[in-house]
């Protein structure tokens, strides 16, 4: 699958779908496992190809470090009266964490944790979840996980084996979506040039600052530009995420990832909901509709939802931009894959409810 095929290996470690919380003693276990992400090299590409781009989806999450139930909430302050966490346990030096609401109509909503206070049993989220549409957040269950980071996925000392370099132009690149349609570029700096700038993960415009703790959101695609001939098999060990995931889709290019360790088809992706305020906007062709771009051995292919039977007999449903007739609903977004949702201007942002593509058993 052109460098994005994931191979799922799940070692069930005792599944508990509901956390048990007994006055600060948390007992919780997730199904653990791994997927293998393939970072494609240039080998096999047309002569003269100097780099190969792989769209990765982080199909595993970090393990749950704290499950619980919200007992009260004001703006971006969530209280769990039964919690027993320490101040700054989920932020700062302990690394970036996020909370996922796991019950209610907004289950799957994810937000960064910016502050943790032990004495008040509060966590502070990056956004005002109440005003964002979660008025009934009280009594809903939640899970807290650590974010993936560049070091967590690719290794603090580049265990993944990406090509290092003195700068981003010569090294393999990790491209992290910046939230506005573009990217921030990272690379592994393997020489202490200029002197004192050190060795390690760096952002392309800062050769000195350690970028290893850069957050990688589970619902975003991570792009890797490989400049070597050989491919890399990257094993991502983690936990399986259960339940739907709410993914914000902004106006512009959205580089999103399959957050589950299972492939999903366009038809069951939940991307088309028959309402352009909750899903992709359909159209007669790819030029007017919102589009979904999936990487294939032939390169990026563009899909859209066709909602009119024009030309007559061409039908409606998921279509590829160059073929208005063939139904493409069974097109796979593979596990371990990232892909692109193009939300056309001036359509507003929407929250994509990405359903869990497998059955709990």
């Amino acid at each position: 699958m052109n460098g994005r095929t994931g191979i799922l290996g799940i070692a069930l470690a005792g599944i508990s779908f509901f956390p048990h919380n007994s006055y600060g003693v948390d007992v919780y276990s997730d199904p653990a496992g791994f997927i293998t992400l393939t970072i494609a090299g240039t080998n096999g590409s047309p002569p003269g190809t100097t780099s190969k781009l792989s769209y990765l989806g982080l199909g595993m999450t970090q393990f749950v470090v704290k499950p619980g139930r919200v007992t009260s909430a004001v703006t971006n302050e969530l209280v769990d009266a039964n919690a027993a966490w320490a101040t700054d346990q989920f932020n700062g030096a302990n690394g970036p964490h996020f909370i996922e609401i796991t019950s209610g109509s907004f289950a799957g909503t994810i937000d960064d944790i910016v502050k943790t206070v032990g004495s008040t049993k509060k966590i502070y989220t990056a956004n005002n979840l109440v005003s964002l549409g979660l008025p009934n957040i009280v009594n809903q269950t939640y899970r807290i996980r650590k974010h993936w980071t560049i070091a967590g996925v690719f290794g603090a000392a580049n265990a993944a084996g990406l090509a290092g370099g003195a700068g981003a132009a010569s090294a393999d690149n990790i491209l992290v979506p910046d939230g506005s349609g573009g990217f921030t570029t990272f690379f592994y700096k393997n020489v202490n040039i200029p002197p004192g700038s050190g060795i390690g993960w760096r952002k392309s415009d800062n050769l000195t600052l350690d970028a290893s703790v850069t957050k990688l959101y589970i619902d975003q695609s991570v792009l890797v530009r490989r400049k070597q001939a050989s491919s890399i098999a990257l094993k991502l060990v983690g936990s399986v995420k259960f339940g739907q995931t709410i993914v914000p889709v902004e106006t512009s290019n959205n580089f999103v990832g399959n957050v589950y360790p299972a492939s999903v088809t366009l038809s069951n992706s939940g991307l088309y909901t028959a309402s352009s305020t909750t899903g992709v906007a359909p159209g007669a062709g790819a030029a007017s509709a919102d589009t979904v771009l999936i990487d294939t051995p032939s390169g990026l292919q563009t899909f859209f939802f066709k909602n009119v039977n024009i030309p007559p007999g061409s039908g409606t449903g998921w279509r590829r931009s160059d073929d208005l007739v063939t139904d493409r609903g069974s097109t796979l977004i593979p596990l371990g894959a990232g892909f692109i949702i193009q939300r056309k201007s001036p359509r507003p942002a929407f929250d994509w409810k990405s359903p869990q593509p497998f059955v709990n058993n």
């Binding site: 003195a166 491209l175 990217f183 050769l207 914000p248 106006t251």
Partner: protein, 212 residues
Amino acid sequence: MKGRKTIAVLTACLAVAVTSANAAKVEWSTGLAGAVQVDDSFVPDNSLLRLGVFDITDLEIQANKLDIAYLDVHFTLFAEGGVGDGAGDAAGFWAISSIGLANPSFVGKPIYLWVFNTSTLGSATEHGIFSATPASWVFPDDLALPPSDSTAIELAQVDQFVVGSVGPTLNFGTDAAPVFVATYRLSAIPEPTTALLVGMGLVGALAARRRK
């Protein structure tokens, strides 16, 4: 992640501009290279770095390399920075990220790097103009799909010394484990008085020729 929504709201107006006229984003650094002056000392911290395009040919740039004002007229600035930016204030080195939101007309044009040995164009006594032949040295469309690989360029990739030359190669490692760094040398800009004298000499020569 809800966390991104705040950013999206704050940049909503910007995003409209970006989607209607794509911007170019370039991340530029020295890589395994540094910039040196004529005497082979590193270009000082905070010296002016300019990234942009020329509307004249390389031959015209070279023919007018002593006339900074003339070159400046024919140069469209994409972004500028200082030596030491992003690289621990090390002389001769830099790493900068630039987004040309205001002028999408850069997209598709060859990238030129204009380096000076002081913090202002007017006070510089040396400069170098560098480019490279790889396709990556073209201003990218940052919303192109798939993403262009010209978002990152390095001085180490330079192979077009429009003004300037190759400097000494330095070993930043040890004898046992050498790490060689190429350098690119700037070219002297005559003092205004010197330039004037050069010009007067030419006038004198022409006058003498007429008298013959």
